[in-house]
C-alpha cells in the first residue's frame, strides 16, 4: 500500500473511478441509453422504448448475430486447433527458426485488418483458388487475424509447463499420443480456454477485414451495425451493439466456468 492515510486512499480510489468511468463507463452508458432512445434532442434521450431490441431480434439482425456467433466459433475452434498444433510442434525448435515461425504467426496481428482483408480478396479472387463471395473467405479472414493469439497463448502455456510432467509420463510408458491426450492437453486446458475466449471476443468484434470480403449471404453483426449507423440509424445500431456485447459476454462467462483441475500446487 503506497498511500497510507485514509483520505489519501479515498482520493486515489476517487481518481481511479473517475478515469475508469470516463474511459469505459461513459461510452457504454451512452450506447445503452441510445439503444432505448426514441429521440435524443436534449442532454438526455426521450421517448424511451425497447423497440430497437424487438426489431433487432426478429429481422435481419438476428440472422447477423447467428452468422457472427458461427463465424466466431468456427474460426476460434480452427485457430485453437491449429494454433495448439503449431505451438506443440514448434516448441522444441532451436531459437533462430523458432523466432522466424513466431514472426510468421504474429505478422497478421501487426498488419491492419483492412489490409489482411484486401490481401485475401486479391489472393483468392482468381482460379484456381476462387473463394471470393463465399462464407469460407470470411472465416479464413477471422482465422488469420486471431490465430496469432491462440498460438501465443498456447505457446506461453507450454513454456510454463514444468517438463517433468511429460518426462515422468514417458518414463511410465506413455507413448507420445497418450501423453498428449492424458497429460499435456489437460494441463494446457486453462490456456486453451483463454485462447478460445480471446479469439471469440476478437472475432465477434471484427469489422475491418470482414467488410472487405463478406458476401451478401454472410453478413456478420458488426458489419450490419456499421451499415445501419452509416445510414444514420444510430439508435438501432446502438441496440445491436448492446446485443453483440451481451452475447459475447455470455459466451465468455460460460467459457470461464468450465472447470479445470489443472492447478499445480506451488511449494
Amino acid at each position: 500500500m503506497l498511500v497510507w492515510s485514509r483520505t489519501g486512499r479515498a482520493g486515489a480510489w476517487g481518481v481511479l473511478a473517475l478515469l475508469f468511468g470516463v474511459v469505459y463507463g461513459v461510452p457504454l452508458v451512452m450506447i445503452a441509453l441510445a439503444s432505448i432512445a426514441g429521440q435524443w434532442n436534449g442532454a438526455l434521450p426521450s421517448h424511451l422504448s425497447l423497440g430497437h431490441y424487438a426489431e433487432a431480434l426478429d429481422g435481419d439482425s438476428a440472422a447477423q448475430l447467428r452468422v457472427s456467433i458461427v463465424t466466431g466459433a468456427v474460426a476460434s475452434a480452427v485457430a485453437m486447433f491449429l494454433g495448439s498444433w503449431a505451438a506443440l510442434a514448434l516448441r522444441n525448435l532451436r531459437p533462430a527458426p523458432r523466432r522466424l515461425f513466431d514472426m510468421v504467426f504474429f505478422l497478421p496481428s501487426a498488419v491492419p485488418s483492412v489490409s489482411v482483408g484486401l490481401g485475401l480478396l486479391v489472393a483468392f479472387s482468381r482460379q484456381p483458388l476462387l473463394l471470393n463471395g463465399t462464407t469460407l473467405i470470411v472465416i479464413i479472414a477471422h482465422f488469420v487475424l486471431i490465430s496469432a493469439f491462440t498460438y501465443g497463448n498456447v505457446s506461453a502455456g507450454l513454456s510454463r509447463l514444468p517438463p517433468e510432467f511429460e518426462l515422468v509420463a514417458a518414463s511410465l510408458g506413455a507413448r507420445p499420443g497418450y501423453r498428449l491426450r492424458r497429460v499435456t492437453l489437460p494441463l494446457l486446458t486453462p490456456y486453451l480456454i483463454a485462447a478460445f475466449s480471446l479469439s471469440f471476443a476478437m472475432s465477434m468484434g471484427e469489422v475491418g477485414a470482414t467488410i472487405m470480403v463478406y458476401p451478401p449471404g454472410w453478413v456478420t453483426l458488426p458489419v450490419g451495425i456499421f451499415a445501419l449507423t452509416d445510414r444514420g440509424e444510430v439508435f438501432a445500431g446502438a441496440a445491436l451493439t448492446m446485443l453483440l456485447a451481451i452475447t459475447t459476454l455470455i459466451v465468455l462467462l460460460g467459457l470461464s466456468r468450465i472447470p479445470t483441475k489443472a492447478v499445480t500446487r506451488q511449494g
Binding site: P162, E164, L167, V168, A170, S171, L172, G173, R182, T189
Partner: protein, 401 residues
C-alpha cells in the same frame, strides 16, 4: 474381500521380489548439450538389486547420467544397458523403468489413484489388474486412505510417497530417483529415508539409481556410491569403504569433509611394527605418523593424509601411535557434540608452513567430540590422537587432480 485383496497384494509383492532384477550398465557414455560435454566417457555398472547413489556438486553431471538411463537425453557416444537389453536407442516409454523426481510431478488434474494407475493405463492393463496394483502400491507407501484426494490436497512428503507408488505400480526392474528428498524439510527427509530403505527390503530385486547432492542420504541408503565432478566419475566403491578409505582428495572432501594434511612418506622402508605393507610411516613437519598406505604412494612421495573429524580423540590412549599438538582456534557446541578446530601451523617448521599456504593441504584440523564437560578454550594448546587404521594416505597425483 478386503482380506483377499491384502493376501493377493502380499503374494504379488513377494512374486515380484523373487523375479531376477536387472542391472544398469553405462559404457563410455558421453552426453553433450550444444557442444558442451556434460557427461564424459562415463562407465558404471549397477548390479541387480543394488542401490547405487550418484553424488556430486551441482553441474557434476549426475542428473544427466540418470536422464540418459531414462532416455531423456541421447548420448553422443557409448551404450547404456538395462539388464540384458541395450536401451541406448529406445525411447523413454519403452524402457520399463520407474522414475521419481525432486518436485514429485504428480499430475495435478488426476486423483492419487489415477496418478498411480497412469503407467498401467498407458500399458492398457485390464481394469482388475489396475485396481489391484494401485491398492497394493498405495498400501506399500501408506497412502491407501488418500486414494481419492487430489495432489494439491497433500503435503510434500505425502506427494512424494504417491510419486514412489506411481513409479512402483508398473513393477519396474529399475527405479530412478532424482534428488527425491531435496524438496522436503529435514525431519520428513529422515523418515522418508527410512521408508525408502524399508521399501527396498520389501523389494530386494529392485535396482535403484539414486542421484543426490546429500552425502548423508547416499551413505544411509546406498550399497555403493559413485562420486562425480565436472561430468566425470571421480570415485566409486562400497559406501563404507569409500567413506573409510577415499581414493582421492575430492572423494575425501565431498563425502564427509575429511581433514587433509600434506605429509611426506618416509624414505625408510621399515616403517614400524604395524607396517606390513598396509601401513606406512609419514612425516608431518617434525612429527612422525603412521597411516594406511595407498597404491601410488611410494617412499619419499609427498601425499595427503586423510583423517575424519570424528576419528580424532582428545583422550590419550594407553599406547598412542599418532599424536598431534595444536592451538585451539574455536570450540562450537552443537548440543549433542562439540566441534573443535585446531591450528597445527604454529608447531610446524617454517618451510612447511609455506607449503601449507598452497591448496594441497591444511594446517587446520577439525575434530568432533561428544559433549565435553570442560571444553578447551580458544588459545589453549591441545594434544589429539588418532589410530593408524583411521588415517589413510591419498596419492599426490590424485590430490592434484
Amino acid at each position: 474381500m478386503a482380506s483377499d485383496l491384502a493376501l493377493d497384494s502380499a503374494r504379488s509383492v513377494a512374486r515380484s521380489a523373487r523375479e531376477p532384477g536387472s542391472g544398469i550398465c553405462f559404457e563410455d557414455v558421453t552426453v553433450a548439450y550444444k557442444g558442451t560435454v556434460v557427461l564424459e566417457r562415463f562407465s558404471l555398472t549397477v548390479a541387480p538389486g543394488e542401490i547405487m547413489a550418484i553424488i556430486g556438486p551441482s553441474g557434476s553431471g549426475k542428473t544427466t547420467a540418470l536422464r540418459a538411463v531414462a532416455g531423456f537425453v541421447r548420448p553422443v557416444s557409448g551404450r547404456i544397458q538395462i539388464g540384458e537389453r541395450d536401451v541406448t536407442d529406445l525411447p523413454p516409454y519403452e524402457r520399463d523403468l520407474g522414475m521419481v523426481v525432486q518436485n514429485y510431478a504428480l499430475f495435478p488434474h488426476m486423483r492419487v489413484d489415477e496418478n498411480v494407475a497412469f503407467g498401467l493405463r498407458a500399458r492398457k492393463e485390464a481394469d482388475t489388474t489396475v485396481y489391484g496394483r494401485v491398492q497394493e502400491c498405495l498400501r506399500m507407501v501408506g497412502m491407501l486412505n488418500y486414494a481419492r484426494r487430489y495432489p494439491r490436497e497433500l503435503s510434500g512428503g505425502q506427494q512424494q510417497r504417491v510419486a514412489i507408488a506411481r513409479a512402483l505400480a508398473i513393477r519396474p526392474r529399475v527405479l530412478l530417483l532424482d534428488e527425491p528428498l531435496s524438496a522436503l524439510d529435514a525431519q520428513i527427509r529422515r523418515s522418508m529415508l527410512d521408508e525408502l530403505a524399508r521399501l527396498h527390503r520389501e523389494l530386494p530385486a529392485l535396482t535403484v539409481l539414486y542421484v543426490t547432492h546429500d552425502q548423508t542420504e547416499a551413505l544411509t541408503l546406498a550399497d555403493r556410491i559413485a562420486i562425480m565432478r565436472d561430468g566425470r566419475l571421480v570415485a566409486t566403491g562400497r559406501s563404507h569403504a569409500l567413506y573409510r578409505l577415499p581414493t582421492n582428495r575430492f572423494a575425501a572432501e565431498f563425502l564427509g569433509r575429511a581433514n587433509l594434511l600434506t605429509v611426506r612418506r618416509e624414505a625408510t622402508s621399515g616403517a614400524g611394527s604395524a607396517s606390513d605393507g598396509v601401513f606406512a610411516r609419514v612425516r608431518f613437519g617434525d612429527v612422525s605418523l603412521l597411516a594406511r598406505s595407498a597404491e601410488g604412494v611410494s617412499a619419499g612421495d609427498e601425499c595427503l593424509l586423510c583423517i575424519r573429524p570424528h576419528d580424532i580423540g582428545l583422550q590419550r590412549p594407553p599406547a598412542p601411535v599418532n599424536a598431534l599438538v595444536g592451538t585451539v582456534q574455536s570450540v562450537v557446541w552443537q548440543g549433542d557434540l562439540h566441534n573443535v578446530t585446531l591450528d597445527l601451523g604454529a608447531d610446524l617448521g617454517a618451510d612447511l608452513r609455506g607449503d601449507l599456504a598452497g591448496d594441497r593441504g591444511d594446517s587446520i584440523l577439525r575434530l568432533v567430540s561428544l559433549p565435553l564437560r570442560e571444553p578447551p578454550q580458544p588459545g589453549d594448546r591441545l594434544e589429539v590422537f588418532f589410530a593408524p587404521e583411521d588415517a589413510v594416505l591419498i596419492p599426490a597425483e590424485a590430490a592434484h587432480a
